[in-house]
């Protein structure tokens, strides 16, 4: 397992990636932002201001480290839990909030943001992302596609077929598995008898690598290497980020039913933000006052996103019809009329 930072923030100098101080701070900010935005979403849900929501707590390094390693032109295909990755790629937080508040406007991704709408059917974004990267290759583009998915998703046929396709056609794809040890209530060792997730890549003729998913630098380095390899035409890589889902599966779940407090505690000690903070402090890039400032600014940004999301008008009847096809067929117009009639 690739590890660059230890639990106390000490870096392995041989493996330390070349990143400027402002970049490191930026990554830290993204992690903090993800955490705060995540916690906010949780309270919004509890207050009845948001629907079911899937928290990412504990997976900030995995998401931020991987997405930060991408270039402007690259694309991501996230799962439902990947708020952190989407944010880093430039999707304004209010979009993600809007989606979970039950408004499709949240998936009207801005034209210049290379993010696919998050996918709910587990693993289904994998072949779509692979096909997209295959199109890039056919079109002789330079971009690389990262597909995000969980450990549970590796059981689905979609994972297998996407991996197989990528291997055969050597697509510029990075398969990024956030192995957070749980798929709702099913632990990783009951999901597959494979020793690691990363070794599954060999069944498809390419490399897999397991990294400490709570180590921002390890995640960043492994992803960057995979992206570079893909971009050079050397095909796909599977990156397994070994991490942990610190929260319940979603706001509708109660993980106390199936896992121990002690396990969670152990992992809380491995908190990826804490570890990176220690590293930044050791490097002299961060102190308490800067941290306070970052957290304060983050809080404001998140509040701002809540405001924007809540200010977005609710869908009108016509909105549920008019994007079904490029042109609205007669029968939908008829159904819209009928609906409007009933609303009066």
């Amino acid at each position: 397992m690739l590890k660059i930072l230890d639990e106390n923030g000490n870096v392995n100098p041989v493996l330390e990636p070349e990143l400027r101080g402002d970049e490191l701070i930026q990554m830290y900010k993204f992690m903090v932002f993800s955490r705060v935005a995540d916690e906010k979403a949780f309270s919004l849900q509890r207050e009845g201001r948001m629907g079911t929501y899937a928290q990412l707590k504990g997976q900030e390094a995995a998401q931020v480290g991987s997405s930060y390693a991408l270039r402007e032109m690259d694309w991501i295909f996230p799962s439902y839990r990947d708020l952190g990755a989407m944010i880093v790629r430039g999707l304004p937080l209010e979009y993600i909030y809007l989606y979970w508040m039950g408004n499709e406007e949240g998936s009207r991704i801005p034209e210049d943001v290379n993010v696919f709408p998050l996918s709910v059917p587990v693993g289904s974004q994998i072949p779509i992302g692979v096909g997209f990267s295959n199109a890039i290759k056919l079109d002789e583009g330079n971009a690389v596609t990262v597909v995000y998915f969980g450990d549970g998703a590796t059981s689905e046929g979609d994972f297998h077929e996407g991996m197989n396709w990528a291997g055969v056609f050597k697509t510029p794809t990075v398969f990024f598995c956030e192995n957070n040890q749980w798929a709702i209530s099913v632990p990783r060792n009951k999901q597959t008898a494979s020793k690691t997730i990363s070794q599954k890549a060999s069944a498809y003729g390419f490399k897999g690598i397991q990294v400490d998913g709570n180590d921002l630098l390890a995640v960043y380095s492994a992803t960057k290497e995979a992206v570079e390899k893909a971009q050079k035409g050397e095909g796909p890589t599977l990156v397994e980020a070994y991490t942990y889902r610190m929260s319940d599966h979603t706001t509708a779940d109660d993980s106390g039913r199936y896992r121990n407090e002690s396990e969670i505690k152990k992992w809380v000690e491995q908190d990826p933000i804490k570890r990176f903070k220690l590293y930044l402090e050791l490097k002299g890039l961060l102190d308490n006052s800067l941290d306070d400032k970052i957290r304060k600014e983050t809080g404001q940004m998140v509040d701002n996103a809540v405001k924007k999301a809540e200010a977005c008008p609710a869908p009108k009847p016509e909105d549920i019809f008019k994007y079904t096809y490029a042109e609205m067929p007669d029968h939908l117009q008829e159904q819209l009329d009928e609906l409007e009639d009933s609303i009066g």
Partner: protein, 325 residues
């Protein structure tokens, strides 16, 4: 008699059948330790062990493929698909094997299998968690499709499905999973598959519906009293095979009919019911049979969900159109 909700009735039916018949096994994502995301299987793994209540990896297609193999062996698997929105993965195994192994092998191999899935909108669930695509299954020869609409029916129908020698898709209307409570007999009973239930007798118009729409129909019938109308409500209970007689005799009596379903209109099961009435009772009809259904769009996310689900107002409009015809 205990007063239970639908989830609890599911649980009771499963427990009783597992006690009665050692061949019954439960398979699905999170059905074991966690007791199911809707708690329908809660307590069963404690009682019957993890060889009979099996937490599977996430592979709907594989679960059903494996369950078919188990059924062929002679077990009685009951699979939970977590939400109907994830059921499409299983279509190939249902169509190509479960539904035709009996006829393929001239009766040598059979598939006594139940697939349970919560379905329908109305609980502000995330995307893909609100679908009603029962019509797809009702079009597949060789399987049965059952939808319950009350706690009492849930237990009796689910037990029948488990005992049925053929594969059954058993749909549970999650909108009324807990909203509806009712008496559920403690003792063993079954409700035959293929028989509709007359929810309410009436003489002016027949509403044909199933699942959570039965409640909508009841609300409509109550409103319609103000218009001086006496509405009959038929809860189909089994969508395949259809209880044609129940539909036809009701329409022969009332001369008017209306179907409500949550699924999109075009090609929904409402069409089959209209076609049936047309075929067998055309001369009794005083007006066209109308359908009030989900629209031909993807089920919207929660903010617009109410536009999608047939509302009392929409049904009343249709009813008035029929009466005014």
């Amino acid at each position: 008699m205990p007063v239970l909700n639908i989830v609890e009735a599911v649980n009771m039916a499963l427990r009783e059948e597992m006690q009665r018949d050692k061949r019954v096994v439960i398979l699905g994502e999170d059905v074991g330790v966690n007791g199911g995301v809707f708690r329908a299987t809660v307590g069963l793994q404690e009682e019957f062990g993890n060889k009979r209540v099996i937490d599977t990896p996430i592979l709907e297609n594989g679960i059903v493929g494996c369950a078919i193999g188990m059924a062929v062996y002679g077990l009685r698997p009951v699979v939970e698909i977590q939400f109907m929105g994830f059921i499409y993965y299983i279509l190939n195994h249902i169509i190509s094997h479960a539904a035709r192994l009996r006829t393929r092998s001239r009766g040598r191999y059979t598939v006594p299998l139940v697939i349970r899935a919560p379905y329908g909108a109305g609980i502000r669930a995330p995307e893909h968690h609100s679908e009603s695509t029962e019509a797809i299954f009702a079009h597949i020869p060789g399987i049965k499709v059952v939808v319950s609409s009350t706690p009492r029916d849930t237990k009796g129908l689910l037990i029948s499905a488990i005992r049925d020698p053929d594969p059954t898709i058993f749909l549970e209307p999650k909108r009324i999973y807990r909203a509806l409570k009712g008496d559920v007999p403690d003792e063993e009973y079954t409700i035959p598959l293929g028989k509709a239930r007359i929810v309410r007798e009436g003489k002016d118009l027949s509403i044909i519906c199933w699942g959570a729409m039965v409640m909508v129909a009841e609300a409509v019938a109550n409103e319609a009293i103000n218009d001086g109308l006496d509405i009959e409500i038929i809860d189909l209970r089994t969508l395949s095979p259809l209880d044609k007689d129940a539909v036809i005799s009701s329409v022969e009596k009332t001369g008017r009919a209306l179907v409500i379903h949550e699924a999109p209109k075009t090609g929904g099961l409402g069409a089959e019911i209209v076609a049936l009435i047309n075929e067998k009772a055309l001369l009794y009809l005083k007006a066209p049979v109308l359908r009030v259904t989900g629209q031909d769009v993807a089920v919207p996310l929660s903010q617009a969900e109410d536009y999608y689900i047939p509302s009392v107002a929409r049904v009343l409009n249709a009813l008035r159109d029929i009466m005014a015809f």
